[in-house]
Amino acid sequence: MTAQTAAQPAVSFAPLLEKKFGGAIRPEPGPKSDIPTVGCDAATLKDLALFLRDDPNAKFDLLLDVVSIDRSRLPAAMRPRDGHRFGLSYLLYSTRHNQHLRVRVGVPEADPKVPTLVDTWPAANWFEREAWDLMGVTFEGHPNLRRLLTHNGFVGHPLRKDYEASQRWLCTEEDLLKTELAARTEVEEDIFETMTLNFGPSHPATHGTLRCVFRVDGEKIVAAESECGYLHRNFEKMAEEHTFTQVIPYTDRLNYCSPMINGNGYARTIEQMLGIEVPPRARAVRSILAEFSRIMDHMVCVGTNLVDLGALTNFWYAYQAREQIYSLLEACCGARLTSSYARIGGLSNDVPANFADWCRTLCREIEDELKEIDGLITKNRIAHKRMRGTGYISKADAIAYGFTGPCLRASGVGYDVRKDAPYDFYDEVDFDVPVADGGDNFARYLVRMEEMRQSIRIIEQLVKKLPGGPIVSDDYRVVLPPKEMVYNEMEGLIYHFKVVFEGIKVPPGEIYSFTEGGNGELGYSLVSDGSGRPYRLKVRPPCFPLFAAFEKMVIGGMVSDAVATLGTLNIIAGELDR
């Protein structure tokens, strides 16, 4: 296991920070594999944010996540120097320098207030709402600080350590959205001019429990407001009550279209924290199945999006491929949808003997299905008319709103974690990152189609050099020892007991670990207090900022465009609401 204060990657612009802010900014130590961190006070936060965003040496233009933490139950050694109860971590990314950074701020319990950063990064809007909703940190100057994931009848902030989780709150039919929308459009409730159209949470086009309220003039949207949280089950709170291994099945329920990627990302987070080596075979299989999952994710997105455009047939072509991939997953781990295949240290069991051939056949089949969809849609004039120029978001806006993944790449920024911060086997395979400039629905469609082809390329290369050896690490402090050992040897039994009853002992510290999910950067922020359970686990769901920008993207368009846009953004409610 690694030493906790090992040298961290240096912050290249640290001298600049020192010069500008003096002692108010301090680099903070963390695990070796973590991203660099600077700490500051609430008073300097706003200036620091502006500096980090605009200074050419920093240029942290993309706000990835806002992580809140209640530090009141941390062991004494881990308590921050400032002694504040709450902590906020702003996770930033620089598209110019390909660098991550965490800005950590302490927030006192008595007056939990920090200035809002919505003006600096519009993406902060929903992230801050979430932090307020779940942790009760107030953001001064926030334009719309209301409940986001919980409902209006909710009392308290569930992620606080002293929140009594057995409490129940009644959800009443308070339609706050409607009045607010009316105020925003500056029109009276006049049925002859505009009308309010409720869209979701159960509408055929929302593909999940999302809700938008449109104010429409005829069919033109003049104002929109989106709302999420209908599928909220507080994954993060549940994670705090389970051992590290027990959290794995919950990760399958995040983005249920590509469960393998979530599991891999989670396991990688813990492995990085533990500093254990994952056998190459496990890493290769993880990458292969992650790419298949990416194909599934994109297939679901493209297929259902085209259903929304009226091209129903493509749905079956897309889902055909998906079903085949499920069969492969089933042969590997026994489950089709919620695979729970990843384990900390490797995978639960080895792949079937015909895995390589199976993958190759599958690639051919997926290519065929892609060709069918291509033939029906890519050059179809009606499809062009429906998708070109609709749901447009510019490069600058996409970055400002915290887009990652295919949606960011469709707006002209080629950021892909697999290329820019390679993990598993991605630095050893040859593949391209498709980038489109359109920023509209068609660009997103094209990027996804091409990514599926690139995924096939990756899979073919990986299958060719699939390494042998064990599928899971033999570090029995982390991995369950084989049954013969448990039954016949004392050590085996002890290891087994420890892992099952106490959980894996992850060294104390904080880490942000990120992988490329189906929809963008999937990040896990983990704070461990050295016990067998996560002290705080925050997921950065890639579609959360996408959906936050949705209302901006649809205003001025028609209702049909909103449907198409929702489809190409690929909002997965399980991941959005957690």
Binding site: M195, L197, N198, H203, P204, A205, G218, E219, L306, V307, D308, L309, G310, A311, L312, T313, F315, W316, Y317, Q320, L376, I377, N380, I382, A383, K385, R386, M558, V559, S560, D561, V563
Partner: protein
């Protein structure tokens, strides 16, 4: 038997035949065919359990529709809400009255031979009657959307009325070309003209294309199925309809599709005729019915094929296409046919 009495009896028999075939046999078959064709295109089996090849699936569905609870929304306008499905279905099946579905059938009765033309009503305003009826049918959709007291239905109703008005114009104007060459509004004469000369589709290909595409729009089929665009408007105008009332809309849509196919065949593809073949006698009459059915069937298949292939237009794009492309083109076609007719006469 007096000729008058015979005519009445013959008309009754023809009505029974056409409506019997269309309503009892063709529509259920068509719904089955739609689902099987869709399944074929989409690489899946489709309904194949009820009866041979799943043929009785529609029957089972019909029974299901009868058994279901019929829900009327509380704030709906009850009278119009209940009337709307009738307004859609009845005109749809009434249009078959003026379509000649075969040559003429010689019937010998009491030593006297009557030549029965295979058309229910040979109306001299012919196609005007047809357009009038389809226009009435739209009221069904508009009223359904309006009286359901549902915003999605309302949008569906609005879309429908706008769509039909736009495309009816182009459709009507392109059809005028056919009547100019035939010199009559009566459909049997249009068929006769094509039998003697050439199928209208050859000289008037532009008009034919406009007419066919407009027919897609008139019948609310993809890529023009905006009134019931499920992804946007849930189910459009029939969101609030259930049980048998929904089935009536459903049947109305398919009846419209058959009527449109029959009309396309009659106006542009020679109706029941085939070039170079004279359909005389009983055998000829039966053969002509078969030819007509085959041609109509082909166009129905095209309707199905297109539905499962193309995406849907957007509302404003549909309007643009109707008013900015099809309307000018249909006028151009009219001019062209006028010149053709004038040149032919001169």
């Amino acid at each position: 038997m007096s000729p008058e009495l015979f005519n009445v009896a013959a008309a009754g028999a023809k009505i029974a035949f056409v409506w019997g075939v269309v309503l009892a046999a063709l529509l259920p078959m068509l719904i089955w065919a739609e689902r099987r064709v869709a399944a074929f295109i989409q690489d899946r089996p489709g309904p194949n359990r009820v009866g041979p090849l799943g043929l009785f699936q529609s029957l089972a569905d019909a029974i299901k529709f009868f058994m279901k609870e019929d829900v009327t929304p509380t704030y709906a306008d009850r009278f119009l809400f209940n009337l709307a499905p009738w307004i859609t279905l009845v005109p749809a099946i009434t249009t078959f009255a003026i379509i000649p579905f075969g040559s003429s059938l010689p019937v010998t009765l009491g030593g006297q031979t009557y030549d029965v033309p295979l058309i229910i009503a040979d109306v001299n305003v012919g196609v005007l009657y047809m357009f009038a009826l389809t226009s009435i049918g739209i009221y069904g959709i508009v009223l359904a959307g309006y009286t359901s007291n549902d915003k999605f239905s309302l949008l569906g109703g609005i879309r429908s009325s706008a769509q039909i008005i736009s495309y009816e114009l182009a459709m009507g104007i392109s059809a005028i070309g056919v009547f100019m060459t035939a010199g009559s509004l009566r459909l049997p004469e249009v068929v006769a003209y094509q039998q003697q000369h050439i199928w209208n589709v050859v000289p008037q290909i532009l008009g034919a294309v406009i007419f066919i595409i407009s027919a897609f729009a008139e019948t609310n089929r993809l890529p023009f199925d905006l009134p019931e665009a499920e992804a946007e408007l849930v189910a459009g105008y029939h969101t609030e309809y259930s049980a048998f009332k929904f089935a009536m809309f459903f049947m109305g849509e398919y009846a419209n599709m058959v009527a449109a196919s029959a009309l396309i065949v009659t106006l542009y593809f020679g109706g029941w005729s085939l070039p170079g073949i004279a359909f005389t006698g009983v055998a000829g009459a039966l053969l002509s019915i078969a030819v007509f059915a085959a041609k109509t069937g082909l166009f129905i298949f095209i309707f199905l094929w297109v539905r499962w292939t193309l995406p849907r237009f957007r509302y404003d794009q549909l309007m643009d296409l109707g008013w900015k492309v099809f309307l000018p083109l249909s006028v151009l076609n009219l001019l062209y046919v006028a010149i053709l007719v004038a040149a032919g006469k001169a």
